[in-house]
Amino acid sequence: MAYTRMNPVSVFDELRREIGRLFDGYGPGLGPVSALSTARFPALNIWEDGEALYAEAELPGVSPQDLEVYAVGNELTIKGRRGTALEEGACYHRRERGTGEFTRVVTLPVEVDAEKVEAALKNGVLTVTLPKADEVKPRKIAVQAG
């Protein structure tokens, strides 16, 4: 360590250098990016089974009252905001977490039953369950003997 232990400033200089160093080795695209500034936020994972479509998004720091989820026909909209006020008088060594408003609209492959859509936010992860409309659910056709 290059700093002397009694110097209060250099301890935090060291921290600052170390944090900077952590990012030097990163390849393109992996550096600190403001998540909310990217065109597609939030990132989505969507999967399905016979009954429903499921959409999941990581939204840390977004409270339920700042989040709106709409499902109309075959379109899902996730809209919200994450606000963190800059603290006056504090010195930021790192500011990677994005803030602001976001809207994401995705077209789903099938119509969903908008009345039965459910959304849950837990530990900063949003899960939307979108039951498929009755007319698109796989239906077993009874084969009649001739």
Partner: protein, 133 residues
């Protein structure tokens, strides 16, 4: 069945100690700000429960780890869109020895952790009293 459980358990314990190093981990996004009395580290840890966070501060090295189990059976799930991966979070910082390690505390809310690192008395400006004899 009882035998099977008895045999499997030690194996899974070994896996648990190792996987933190072997499994790929995501780097959480953080804000770090310095106040008069403390450093505050704010980290996005979506999907991490409080009991799955492991914070260590040893010899000036702060290590932050959040364990995240898969939320779906990835092999059996029929994904239509996959824009992010789900897994552990890991990041470490060299903070030096200016932190009062006994008073470090953390809070977790909506997938965001706030870690308070109070500055040690030793690095706060200190007035030395000279005693006369």
């Amino acid at each position: 069945m009882a035998n099977e459980t008895a045999i499997k358990k030690p194996e899974s314990e070994i896996t648990r100690t190792e996987h933190t190093r072997d499994r790929m981990a995501y780097t959480p996004q953080v804000d770090i700000l310095e106040r008069d009395e403390e450093l505050l580290l704010v980290a996005d840890l979506p999907g991490v429960r409080a009991e799955d966070i492991d914070i260590r501060y040893e010899q000036g090295l702060l290590t932050l780890q959040g364990r995240v189990e898969p939320r779906q059976d990835e092999a059996a799930t029929n994904y239509l869109l996959r824009e992010y991966g789900v897994g552990d979070f890991y990041r470490s910082f060299r903070v030096g020895e200016g932190v009062d390690s006994d008073k470090i505390r953390a809070e977790l809310k909506n997938g965001v952790m706030e870690l308070h690192l109070p500055k040690a008395e030793a690095i706060k400006p200190k007035k030395i009293t000279v005693r006369s004899q």
